[in-house]
Symmetry: C2
Subunit: 148 residues, 2 copies
Amino acid sequence: MSVMPSANESADDASEIWAVLRALFRDHRLRFLTAAGELNLHPAQAGALLQLHEPLPMHELAAKLACDKSNVTGLVDRLTARGLVTREPSASDRRVRQVMLTPGGQRARARLLAEVGAPARSAMRRLSAEEQRQLLALLRKATETESH
Amino acid sequence: MSVMPSANESADDASEIWAVLRALFRDHRLRFLTAAGELNLHPAQAGALLQLHEPLPMHELAAKLACDKSNVTGLVDRLTARGLVTREPSASDRRVRQVMLTPGGQRARARLLAEVGAPARSAMRRLSAEEQRQLLALLRKATETESH
DNA sequence: TATTGTTATACTCTATAACTATA
DNA sequence: TATAGTTATAGAGTATAACAATA
């Protein structure tokens, strides 16, 4: 009564896809750690720089980093001491301090992004324009959130 | 003289793919941190459990975790204190100690894998068997290493 | 009352260097 | 000599709880 012989193959494909993705995750993490180390940044510090594409209040930065806000105080202290970020008081709420990148922080962030994204650019070069279109469509369908 | 009008579109697709992958990486990292926290494990401890699908010498575990071997001593000490791993002397080299999961460690590892992999399983359900085949083929082509 | 950011505390991670015991 | 693992040390991350300033 096996009307759908592709069911098993499908499950295998899904497992294989997950294996490929896990390898991508590992590789991405290693690239990130290496890039951070080359800049003499602790992973948490590098992660903060990547989040700061726009100024963020301390507590929002804590939320993005998935850690307690008390940790962000020292983290931003040390990034400030290295001249990579500044704390600016918020105009609308005097409790809030906006953390933003200095020019040096922007340069460090750009270097991180360039190094972490390098293998992805190589990978894309292995695909034709049509294949890239297909891949994007499939990834979007697989990851699309059901926001109706 | 623009003979290839798809060049620009291709670059856009590649950027979009990279954006989707970055979102996947962030989500995966957050899932991992959450799953580790629910087990009262430090991220480094959870990472060690995930690497220990097979027994590993201390220095190999250090290599997989991309950290100095001196750190692994304390890491394994604490995992041992919690009954999640054991250190067994190697039969072939008396300098080496094999780190391996206890039954409790295997349960913790299984829980981590289940929680971290959950969104990937949901994503695969959004694709047909044929689409999964296509996605796997594209990912493999994009990530294949030129080992000739 | 609730929220933002800080401080205090305790534990863990991390890199470096020096040490031992093996190879 | 080189390698595996440990120890010592110093700096950084992390969670929790308590606090002052502001909303």
